[in-house]
């Protein structure tokens, strides 16, 4: 990773390295929490909070943490922040807590966070890591919102819980979109759109699987081996 200006670190997460549509990280919350705009927004912010905090702490400790145990250390730090965010949301925004359910705890294993810790925070300064966290967090939130707006407006005929009379009265909702298959469908279509706009430049070489998977670090390419073995 060559020298990057602070601005480009912040902005790259928005589109060029958008975690959801380009890096294809954090698929699970992207699909599961985007049935409503409220849920997606809450999930985006919660993830961003964890991402920024863990990025800061991990980059601050990057010289202190021995290489051999870095993954367990990262996981402890991330799980710690997730739990703190979880408790704060349960205390102050109980409705959101009920909406997100288990997916809040599962931020721990969100590929984005461990992925950024491994790919960026473990190698860069605190300031840059914080910017990276904010950028990625905003990119993640925007992506989730895009998914959720499509799914809630077209699927349930409402926006952030407010019914849109025009859609509901004329029966223009596609309830499938608000359900599980709709999540996969909308996600697939959106990635195709990003592909089209960028003419496939961004995602073209990124074979989904090993590179995007945070376990790649811990499994030392075991994943890649399997793929080769099978082919």
């Amino acid at each position: 990773m060559s020298k990057q200006s602070n601005m480009s670190i912040l902005l790259k997460g928005l589109l060029r390295e958008n975690p959801v549509f380009v890096l294809i990280l954090g698929t699970c919350p992207t699909l599961a929490t985007t049935t409503t705009v409220d849920g997606a927004f809450g999930m985006g912010l919660a993830t961003m909070a964890v991402l920024v905090c863990s990025n800061i702490v991990i980059s601050a400790l990057r010289k202190f943490i021995p290489d051999t145990v870095r993954i367990p250390c990262y996981i402890v730090v991330i799980a710690g922040f997730v739990t703190i965010v979880q408790m704060l949301i349960q205390a102050f925004i109980p409705d959101l807590y009920a909406t997100l359910g288990v997916y809040l705890a599962l931020i721990t294993v969100n590929c984005i966070i461990l992925g950024r810790a491994e790919m960026f925070a473990g190698k860069n300064s605190v300031g840059k890591s914080a910017l990276d966290g904010i950028g990625m967090g905003i990119g993640f939130t925007i992506a989730l919102l895009a998914m959720a707006i499509i799914r809630e407006v077209l699927g349930a005929g409402s926006f952030a819980g407010n019914e849109i009379p025009f859609l509901v009265e004329n029966g223009l909702t596609i309830s499938l979109l608000a359900k599980a298959p709709g999540g996969l469908l909308v996600y697939g279509l959106l990635i195709a759109v990003v592909n089209k706009i960028t003419k496939g430049k961004l995602i073209k070489k990124k074979e989904f699987g090993c590179e995007g998977c945070p376990s790649a670090a811990s499994c030392n390419g075991g994943c890649a081996d399997t793929v080769k073995e099978g082919e």
């Binding site: 400790l61 202190f64 943490i65 021995p66 051999t68 145990v69 367990p72 250390c73 402890v76 730090v77 799980a79 710690g80 739990t83 703190i84 408790m87 704060l88 349960q90 205390a91 102050f92 109980p94």
Partner: protein, 394 residues
Amino acid sequence: MKNYIKSIISLTVICAVVAVALAATNYVTAPIIEKNAGAAANEALLVVMPDGGDFTAVDLTQYSLPESVVEAYNASNGGSVVKLTATGYGPDMIIMCGVNADGVVTGAVCLSSNETLGVEKTYGDTLKDATIDTIDGIATVSGATMTTENYRNAVKDAINTAIILGGGSADIRTPEQILADNLATALPAGEGAFTEVFICEKLENVSALYSADNGAGFVYVTTVNDEEIFVGVDANGAVVSEVADDVKANIEANAKIMLKSSLKEVDITKYADMPTNVDKAYKTNSGNYVLEIHASGFGINGDHYYNPSGEYIYIKIALTDKGEIITCQTIKQTETDGIGSVCADKEFYSQFNGKDESNYKDIDAITGATITTNGYKSGVGKAIEAVKIMEGVA
């Protein structure tokens, strides 16, 4: 080796710091979370008691309460909110009911039900403002009599619970206990062991008849001023309970009929047109008929009385020579447990009593078991037909 130790130390330190941070956050948020949970639970209870204030859960083991009570809460305004299950004929429902300090229902809602009618969603509103004295007078919903009756009984249990929690006393005996108590009071000589008698004679104002297992006598159930009273009769037909003279005269007249009653089997094979669902027929010396029939229930396809695999519902039915039903009783059935099996409940089959050819179909169907109900009705219809054949008027 040095790296090894360093790894362990750094991991341990990180774990320790994270643990401290978590404990600190928990210290701040735990009371708020607890308060939120309490507020949410409180809100649910406020639905049935808007001015209830705060609620505290009651330890149910401290009181003897109706069996249907699942949870109970004392409100800060002196009332109670009770959560109960309503079971029996029809669907199982969970009902939450608020009762204020004066024993007046402040609200009732059905929290869950496997009912499909929908009446349980609104019936609670009609029970609002009811008290223990007025609740039995509140009308049930026609077409859903059993469901609404269960609902009403559950709310009645809730009122009794609230009275008990408020320090009062209430009658919380189950219907079976009440029946046993009434029988024992009416005929002490029966020593508490009674069996219901199948009434095959047309009796004046008698809804049920029990005989003492030790042969000491009978208990007749009759209705006076809309109230059921239990009248004890000794083995010779003399009334032993303290009752008004006209009641006494009526019961003794009935007892006289019953004592004389005897059955004689009729050979049904000599009637060519006899419906095939009639298994046995008896005639009483007063000219009534007692038929043992079977009816097709759920799981029996095609022609009602052709049975490829399923089991029938067996029914005993007494009719007058004019085809009027005196008593109808389910003897044996293997219908779907909890749905069609309801045809074995007295609340169901006693609906046929007093009906005749013109109106025997006007009974409440069993919820979710239309086929069972229709099969049952059709069996009863054939019994009426059989009487006409035996009387030679068909």
